[in-house]
């Protein structure tokens, strides 16, 4: 049973997702189920049959034993009676036999009785039937009476008539049933008298039935009416006898029967106990089989439920759109679901057991991914999703969000890491599109605003300029026509001057408006500014697969500057660098930022590995509205130069010896 339970416990793992149900159902009522039942029934039947045959044999044996015993008893009795008769005859035919007196008879009888069991009295009768002597009990007959009882009379007469011994029917006496045998004897051809032997029936039985026979059977002698006249038995006669046998007892005849009864023996009881045990054991086996069957049924049901649950869970895993991936502590994949296989384009067999670095990690990102996974698995790290770029077997890149969680088995031991992997390429692209759209909108809005402003300024200036032109033309007209009155000309010129002043005021107002954004300087550390700018550019850089490598001097100089404006300068330079590298192979896309403090200045360099700058472009590089980009406004580097000039610094470009361009700017250090 244990083995069965174990094997069924192992089953669900081997079960395929579907079809498990059908097979479990059909296995239950198969051939193994009725064979044990049938063989058990046959075994019980055979055992009971054997018992029955045994019983029959036993009865048969008993019967033959009984018959043998009863025949033996009968013959023994007959033999004993015959021998007794012989001895009585000898006694009668002895020369002095019939004439023995009381005392002589007693002597002879003592010897005779000892050899003839059952013989209780010997009586001598005169030829006329009168009592002559008796032994061992001296009998007497009342005067005028005869010792021969009326029932003995026929036998006596028969003996006298025939001269042969004759048995009388039994009759009751004081102690037991008795019968007599009359033996006549002759002297010289004349009836000389009769020797009568008195037998007690009980004495016969007690003398002739041996103890071992009496142990087994009850031996009785019955008269013709079936009444028990004598019995010998050591067995308790209870109820009906099991077996009986009777045979006529002749001599003495007169309907006497020897009856032997056999009662059940102890062996019988043992057999019954044995049979009961067999039946009991069979019942126990049946019960245990039934219980086992029920147990197995329950196990099958459980197993089926387990199989269904397993199939359901598997179906769920298979239909999941989220990729699932489990790794052990060594970084080997131990489980993947179909969604994950679809994502990376490798089959389950190819992925399982594969260690880091995985095939689907982009070659240049392998170190970065391994570090990101290690960092997220480090103890005490809050569980935040990791955003990574993976590569499909076809070479197509896609972005995923990975949620890592410890994989804990049922004993509470961590066996590895479970990750759900979400493909966010589409989402990211959409977000990117929206961002791009927004940027474009903002740029357009800026342009529109600038256009509005320019238009407003133009309109404002047009008014005085138009007025000035009109006055001047009017004056010229008058002077040419010769109709000019000096006072009129004078007035017009005065008005012209006023309008010129008005135009000047407009221009001053615009200038004041632009000058409102003065830098707000404060003491600040350069490295902090560089790091902040790198942080701002990081998201964009990751999107464009560009690594930003700050190599900052240990010596962190303090500056008096506007940190936000300097950040703007760095951000502009880094963005320019990234734009320049759009055609550069991925593994080379790197922007290095260095700081070099010197005695009175600090120089910051932003080095890209991009396309570089041609000499004619370099000449116009910092001019406003000069751009090489389709969507650029040509203000970026110009703004940078303005900001640095405000800070008494300068900015320039130089070729990168490793390919690409270096944009550098220097700032004066505050005298300590």
């Amino acid at each position: 049973v244990k083995e069965l339970a174990e094997s069924s416990g192992r089953m669900p793992a081997l079960l395929p997702a579907d079809g498990a149900r059908g097979r479990a159902r059909s296995a239950a009522p198969g051939w193994p189920w009725y064979v044990p039942w049938l063989s058990l029934a046959l075994l019980v039947a055979a055992l009971l049959g054997a018992l029955w045959v045994l019983q029959l044999q036993d009865i048969e044996e008993n019967r033959s034993g009984l018959i043998r015993d009863s025949l033996w008893v009968e013959q023994n009795i007959q033999f004993s009676l015959d021998r007794g008769l012989e001895q009585l005859r000898q006694l009668a035919e002895a020369p002095e036999g019939g004439d023995l007196d009381q005392r002589q008879l007693e002597l002879r009888v003592k010897h005779l009785l000892a050899n003839a069991p059952g013989l209780v009295e010997i009586v001598l009768l005169a030829p006329d039937g009168a009592l002559r002597a008796s032994a061992p009990t001296p009998l007497s007959v009342p005067p005028g009476g005869s010792w021969i009882s009326p029932s003995d009379e026929p036998a006596y007469r028969l003996a006298r008539g025939t001269g042969n011994a004759s048995y009388a029917p039994p009759h009751a006496s004081a102690s037991e049933r008795q019968f007599e045998v009359f033996v006549p004897y002759y002297r010289g051809g004349q009836l000389a008298g009769m020797v009568v032997g008195v037998y007690g029936l009980k004495s016969i039985l007690s003398g002739l039935v041996p103890w071992w026979l009496a142990e087994k059977h009850r031996v009785t002698i019955r008269d013709s009416n079936g009444n028990v006249v004598a019995a010998k038995s050591n067995v308790e006669a209870e109820g009906f006898p099991e077996l009986t046998h009777q045979a006529p007892l002749d001599p003495p005849g007169h309907g006497l029967l020897l009856h032997v009864e056999s009662y059940g023996s102890k062996a019988n009881l043992l057999r019954n106990v044995l049979a009961a045990t067999i039946v009991g054991l069979a019942a126990a086996v049946l019960w245990s089989l039934w219980a086992l069957r029920r147990h197995i049924q329950r196990r099958l049901d459980t197993e089926q439920a387990l199989g269904e649950a397993h199939a359901f869970r598997k179906a769920m895993e298979d239909s999941l759109e989220t990729g699932m991936r489990a790794m052990d502590h060594e970084g080997r994949i131990v489980y993947v679901n179909p969604a994950f296989c679809r994502m990376v384009g490798y089959s389950e067999a190819e992925l399982i057991g594969h260690g880091a670095p995985q095939e689907y990690w982009p070659p240049e990102e392998r170190r970065h991914i391994a570090e990101a996974l290690r960092a997220s698995r480090a103890a005490g790290t809050p569980r935040v999703p990791i955003e990574l770029e993976l590569v499909h077997r076809s070479g197509e890149r896609f972005d995923v969000l990975i949620y890592e969680a410890p994989l804990v088995d049922d004993r509470g031991r961590q066996t590895g890491w479970m990750a759900s992997v979400l493909d966010i390429t589409e989402r990211k692209r959409a977000r990117e599109r929206v961002r791009h759209q927004e940027e474009k909108l903002a740029a357009t809005a800026r342009l529109v605003a600038m256009g509005e402003m320019a238009s407003a300024i133009a309109h404002e200036l047009n008014q005085p300029l138009s007025a000035i032109a009109s006055y001047a033309t009017g004056c010229l007209n008058m002077l040419q026509a010769g109709t000019a009155a000096p006072s009129e000309i004078c007035e017009a010129l005065q008005k012209t001057t006023q309008q010129a002043q008005r135009a000047g005021r407009i221009i001053r107002r615009v200038h004041e408006f632009v000058r409102k954004s003065e830098p707000s300087r404060s003491r600040m550390r350069l490295n902090a500014v560089v790091e902040a700018a790198v942080g701002l550019a990081e998201a964009d850089a990751r999107k464009r697969r560009v690594r930003i490598v700050p190599q900052l001097s240990r010596e962190d100089p303090e500056l008096l500057a506007d940190p936000l404006l300097l950040q703007q300068v760095l951000l502009n330079l880094v963005r320019n660098g990234m734009d320049a590298m759009s055609e550069t192979p991925r593994e080379l896309r790197e922007i290095t930022i260095t700081t070099e403090p010197a005695a009175s200045t600090v120089t910051v360099r932003v080095m890209d590995r991009g396309c570089g700058i041609s000499p004619e472009v370099q000449r116009q590089l910092f001019e406003p509205f000069f751009t090489t980009k389709a969507e650029g406004m040509g203000m970026g580097l110009n703004i940078c130069r303005s900001i640095l000039e405000v800070h008494q610094g300068r900015v320039w470009a130089e070729p990168n010896p490793r390919g690409g361009t270096v944009f550098a700017f220097s700032l004066p250090l505050e005298p300590a």
Partner: protein
């Protein structure tokens, strides 16, 4: 009947003054209005000349003032003064029947030439309108029978045919014909046809 005048509508006093000064230097009378509302309220059926409208004004814009003029049936020629960004607006106004538009800052004597041209065209249009009106008045004097006779004369029918068609005596036709010629101020059928052909 008032004199033909250039009506300058601009919210900028300097422009108003300078343009008036310029026009005066060419001997053109000008009247300045500080807003579209003021100009519209001061406008009458007798007002003649042309209108110089600034597109961009506080209150009513030049375009709105033009729409109001069109709504009132005023056919005075309109010249728009536009800034750099207002060209599309001015083009739309041209399609609605404005005379011209001039971008600021303008070439002043050219502007004056365009103004004079506009005033001349207004004068011509006005004269034509008056001739038309007198013709209409003369036709209105004819009786119904006279008008029938005139239609047939213009169709080239002889008196005899006209009399048969209208079922009247030839003599009567001749009388009607004489009346028509007299009322229309012509001496021959050819002259009558010429007069009415212009109208059609």
């Amino acid at each position: 009947m008032s004199e033909a005048t250039v009506h300058i509508v601009d919210d900028d006093a300097a422009i108003r003054d300078a343009l008036s000064w310029l026009l005066r230097s060419r001997g053109v009378s000008a009247k300045a209005w500080e807003s579209g509302e003021a100009f519209l309220s001061g406008l009458s059926a007798e007002t003649r000349g042309c209108v110089v409208l600034d597109v961009r004004m506080d209150g009513m814009s030049g375009i709105e003032v033009h729409d109001h003029l069109l709504g009132r049936g005023c056919r005075m020629p309109v010249l728009f003064l536009t800034g750099h960004g207002d060209v599309p607006l001015a083009v739309a106004a041209l399609k609605k029947g404005a005379f011209d538009f001039v971008e600021k800052p303008f070439n002043d004597n050219q502007l004056v030439d365009r103004i004079l041209e506009a005033m001349r065209s207004d004068e011509a249009r006005r004269r034509e309108l008056e001739a038309e009106e007198s013709l209409m008045a003369r036709v209105a004097q004819l009786t119904a029978r006279e008008r029938e006779v005139m239609e047939r004369v213009l169709a080239g029918d002889h008196n005899k045919a006209i009399a048969d068609a209208l079922d009247i005596a030839i003599r009567t036709v001749e009388v009607h014909r004489a009346h028509v010629f007299e009322k229309m101020g012509v001496r021959s059928a050819v002259e009558l046809a010429g007069l009415l052909a212009r109208r059609r």
